[in-house]
């Protein structure tokens, strides 16, 4: 087990390095950060452009720039932003806001997906299963942003009917320093939006996994011992069916982050999504790099944790 863990860890680090290198190349080659400044009318004097270039380090070759950036990272310096902000600090604030949303969504989606998936598998092709399967199918086809706008619209009319602001449709609550119930009011809608999308695909996975387990021989043996269907599922089926689900949660993490970016945009949160989009619009290379790095690292970390948890729970891996 220890070996399994160290092996995974040792893969993760070069992975991250490779990832950072690739995205650095990608970002560097995808465009000139100063193009907008260059295309201004009247164009700025060449010396000003040159000094800007030097400031941003654009006069050096790509590899050198990468190394400089990398070493800067070790010092905690994410580089110079066009917007003249401290990338590290800003990112820190934004990420806290966003991770609240993401992890809440993961937990709720996982729990609901497991319940729905298991029930669907146990009552396969029954009325409830068919209805739920159809609903899930439709939910998978609904775009996150469209659903968000729809919910916003509904929340506004709800608020008007009730007479007070229960569901907040704009902002993430940090500016108001919201806590407790008010904070929940900010979180509810975006969480629903993000959860709905991901829960749909997870519930299908859980259902398929559970169906497969139900047909396994050891389930038949469990029943042959005298266990009722429910007991057999609880004691033998669940663990085997849900074990692979752990890795699915990790694999979908980057998709979840993408969904969060869109959700934040709909609800106008000042989260990491907004940070990225602003950075892209401003062609702010270092901001984009920092963002990609953080989330690549988070994804790799999630995969690592999932692998470790899987290894702990599955005795076949634990003992080899």
């Amino acid at each position: 087990m220890l070996r399994y863990a160290t092996k995974r860890l040792l893969i993760a680090v070069p992975m991250l390095l490779m990832a950072s290198f690739v995205m650095f190349l990608m970002v560097s080659f995808s465009g000139d950060p100063l193009s907008r400044i260059r295309s201004q009318d009247p164009p700025p004097p060449p010396e000003a452009l040159e000094s800007l270039e030097k400031q941003l380090g654009l006069d050096k070759p790509v590899l050198e720039r990468y190394v400089i950036w990398l070493f800067g990272l070790f010092r905690g310096d994410f580089g110079q932003s066009i917007m003249n902000i401290d990338i590290g600090a800003e990112l820190g604030n934004r990420v806290t806001v966003s991770f609240r949303l993401i992890f809440l969504a993961i937990i709720i989606a996982a729990v609901v997906a497991v319940i729905v998936g298991v029930v669907g598998a146990l009552r396969q092709y029954g009325f409830v299963d068919n209805v739920v399967s159809t609903v899930v199918f439709v939910l998978l086809a609904v775009p996150v942003f469209w659903l968000g706008v729809l919910l916003k619209h509904w929340a506004v009319s709800f608020n008007e009917t009730v007479g007070s602001t229960v569901f907040y449709t704009i902002g993430d609550g940090s500016r108001q320093n919201a806590t407790g119930l008010a904070l929940i009011g900010f979180l509810v809608l975006p969480t629903i939006v993000l959860t709905v999308n991901v829960f749909a695909s997870w519930s299908r996975y859980v259902r398929a996994s559970m169906v497969e387990v139900m047909n396994a021989d050891y389930m038949k043996l469990a029943r042959a011992k005298g266990l009722s269907r429910g007991q057999a599922v609880w004691k033998h089926g669940l663990r085997n069916a849900l074990l692979p689900f752990v890795t699915i949660v990790a694999l979908d993490f980057s998709a979840l982050v993408g969904g969060a970016v869109v959700t934040e945009s709909v609800f106008q949160w000042r989260g990491m999504g907004d940070f990225l989009l602003t950075g892209i619009r401003n062609l702010d290379v270092n901001v984009v790099m920092a963002w990609l790095l953080i989330f690549a690292a988070a994804t790799i970390l999630m995969n690592l944790i999932a692998d470790l948890v899987y290894g702990l729970l599955d005795p076949r891996i634990r003992h080899s």
Binding site: L221, R223, R229, R316
Partner: protein, 708 residues
């Protein structure tokens, strides 16, 4: 359906106080599977009794409905199946009972053992906990008591170091051990009836013997009756008191085991008995039954299910389905319109089959002329990561043999002996670590690239699984044309060649446009053989070519192979784990154990006078389809398991289980066994065996027969 009731013969030992009525009474059981497209009657009306303490064997091939019957008794037939009829356990009706009521019966009064030990146990739960659970479901006791009880059960079935091993997980056990755990679970609550559905089909033959003995121990301890479902007539002959033969979803013959084997009145049973190869009489010709077992969907009760394959079929057979009628013998019944007329159903005529002459040979070298295939010092190692270290598996260690044209060398051994590695290395589907393989003098291992591709045409392989050996997307024509195309066979002549190949394997040339899924298993194997012959090879390597086929279909393919090998003077390497099949088809035999050949020689010599203790044990473990012989045979108990190939014993690999080593040697002799790998030495100028002290085999104690 008529009420075909089979009553049990006189009770052997009436249990204390229990009345004369049987333990289990099944009447008119019908099991139907409903799929969105059609309904299939897997079991079409079956009735039988099981008395207390008796062993009933249910024999059948695929589509016979035997497994469905077994699971239906427990009510575990699944959501898509419907049962009709009556199943009474000691008077209590099980059909239609609530799941809760059945829950009290399952595991307590009836227990079940399934086929595949790999998947029967929950992989994430310890073995001890799974046995403990079985105990705690029906009995109330403290956790510690249940723990002690589970250890006791594991010891009873023969798991060594039971207390320690109870904390292990299923994947840490071998197949035989896992099956014993399943048996321990089955006997946990002293059931009245144990149902074993193909309990040993997935196991090696020596492990099979151990598991069947463990089952017997369980039965003696619990006084349970046993329903043994299997396709293996040898197993039934040795273990059952009464037998029921199923075909096409119904019982076609029932009776006492002796009546069934020696005085059968049903053409199917007799056909089956005449078509299976026997270890004790390898020269007996196999008389195949044409066609294959019917699929349940095609049977509607309007004709005898066996009519399409029966040699004695008449108008009556195709127009009405025969009921079970009484024939001589206690409780002996057969479902044939002509069952009572003995003269009408004579013995099958062996003259119909022309048996090709045997090619006699001496120990290591083939009889006449140059060998067509020569394997010298073949070695195959591969590395594996186990327990955090890189280890080497010596799959094949120094194997050498020659094969002459027209001769078949059988390679036998159990799991992990390396025979599959040998076959793959010889055909170069995997690379060998060392050694030489020559085809008529040309070194196969020394070529590569284009020259290898050309040489490959001369040695072809026939594979095991008829369902994955043919590309499902290619028509028969495409499948056979591929090797022709690759060997640059002239385009214009290909069609004729394909027709010729199909005829050679007994298929009609009009089938070229069909796809594999339209053929039965036996026909698919014939297609595989046709494909192997397409490039006109000099050597055929056959890797378990009939293992996946139904018993009644195997004979036809075996005979075909024998004729082809003889007619085309091919050298054939026949690999199988089924000793009876190998015995029948091979001229010479090599027995492998842990990567080495331990005995090699003429088939007749090896089977009638085996020299190596492993060969003796192997032969003794194969069940014969002959009840009297089975009861009176001496059985050599091979204890323990095959050592892991990762860590083979030093010196002679067999010494850890060898009767000679244990009983007949001095300490000095034992040191030799521990230190020196025995070489293959000819024994009395017959076969060669790899044993230092073959003449010191202990004289068997007279009591060990199964009748006791």
């Amino acid at each position: 359906m008529s009420a075909d009731i089979v009553t049990a013969p006189d009770m052997r030992e009436p249990s204390s106080g229990a009345g004369r009525h049987p333990l289990l009474q099944v009447r008119d059981l019908v099991v139907t599977f409903a799929t969105p497209t059609n309904t299939v009657n897997a079991v079409r009306g079956i009735s039988f009794d099981v008395a207390r303490g008796e062993v009933v064997g249910i024999v059948g091939e695929s589509g016979s409905g035997k497994s469905v019957t077994a699971t239906a008794i427990m009510g575990l037939h699944g959501e898509t199946a419907r049962i009709k009829g009556s199943i009474r356990l000691d008077g209590d009706e099980l059909v239609g009972a609530s799941d809760k009521a059945l829950g009290k019966v399952r595991g307590k009064r009836i227990a079940m053992i399934f086929q595949d030990p790999m998947t029967s146990l929950n992989p994430v739960m310890t073995v001890g906990n799974q046995v403990k659970e079985a105990v705690l479901i029906h009995r109330s006791m403290s956790g510690a008591e249940a723990q002690a009880e589970s250890i006791r059960l594991l010891e009873l079935v023969g798991i060594p170091n039971a207390a320690e091993r109870a904390a292990s997980y299923p994947h840490e056990f071998s197949g035989g051990m896992r099956q014993r755990v399943v048996i321990a679970i089955a006997m946990a609550n002293d059931p009245d009836l144990i149902i074993a559905d193909e309990p040993t089909t997935a196991l090696d033959v020596t492990v099979q013997a151990q598991v069947l003995d463990a089952l017997e121990v369980a039965r003696k301890h619990t006084n349970a009756a046993l329903i043994l479902v299997t396709h293996d007539l040898g197993v039934v002959a040795g273990r059952a008191d009464r037998v029921m033969v199923m075909y096409g979803g119904r019982a076609v013959e029932t009776g006492d085991v002796d009546d069934l084997f020696y005085r059968s009145r049903m053409p199917y049973t007799r056909g089956l008995l005449a078509s299976i190869p026997r270890l004790d009489n390898r020269l007996l010709p196999l008389i195949p039954i044409k066609g294959s077992p019917p699929s349940p969907a095609s049977l509607d009760g309007s004709h005898c299910p066996f009519a399409a394959r029966c040699e004695f079929v008449t108008e009556l057979c195709t127009s009405s389905e025969p009921p079970l009628i009484d024939v001589p013998g206690a409780g002996h019944r057969a479902a044939c319109h002509y069952a009572s007329d003995y003269a009408r159903v004579p013995e099958r005529n062996p003259d119909l089959v022309e048996a090709p002459p045997r090619v006699p040979g001496t120990a290591l070298a083939p009889s006449d002329g140059e060998p067509v295939l020569s394997v010298q010092h073949l070695t195959k190692n591969y590395s594996v990561r186990s327990k955090n270290k890189k280890r080497t598996v010596h799959a094949v260690a120094d194997v050498s043999f020659d094969i002459a044209p027209g001769e078949t060398l059988g390679l036998v051994g159990e799991s992990g002996c390396g025979k599959s590695s040998v076959s793959r290395s010889v055909v170069r589907l995997q690379d060998m670590t060392g050694g030489r393989v020559t085809l008529n003098g040309d070194d196969l291992a020394a070529v590569s690239g284009r020259r290898l591709r050309v040489m490959r045409r001369r040695i072809q392989m026939v594979f095991q699984d008829p369902y994955s050996s043919l590309d499902p997307r290619m028509s028969v024509e495409d499948i056979l044309a591929e090797p022709l195309r690759l060997s640059k066979y002239p385009q214009a002549d290909r069609a004729a060649r394909i027709a010729e190949l199909l005829s050679a394997v007994g298929l009609s040339p009009t089938m070229v446009t069909r796809y594999p899924h339209e053929f039965s298993g036996g026909q698919r194997q014939r297609l595989g053989i046709a494909r192997a012959l397409a490039t006109d090879p000099e050597v055929l390597v056959l890797d378990e070519p009939v293992s996946a086929l139904d018993v009644s279909v195997q004979a036809g393919v075996i005979n075909l192979l024998r004729n082809l090998i003889r007619d085309r003077q091919l050298g054939a390497l026949f690999i199988a784990h089924d000793l009876s099949v190998v015995a029948h088809i091979s001229d010479r035999i090599a027995v492998m154990y842990l990567g080495r050949i331990v005995e090699i020689g003429d088939s007749e010599d090896v089977f009638t006078n085996p020299v190596h203790p492993y060969t003796k044990a192997l032969i003794s473990a194969v069940p014969l389809p002959d009840p009297i012989l089975e009861r009176t045979r001496e059985s050599i108990q091979l204890h323990g398991e095959v050592p892991s190939p990762l860590d083979p014993p030093s010196g002679c690999p067999f010494r850890t289980r060898c009767a000679i080593f244990e009983q007949s040697l001095t300490e000095e002799q034992r040191t030799r066994c521990r230190g020196e790998v025995p070489a293959l030495i000819p024994h009395e100028s017959r076969q060669a065996a790899a044993c230092h002290f073959p003449d010191l085999y202990p004289v068997p104690q007279p009591a060990a027969t199964r009748a006791d």
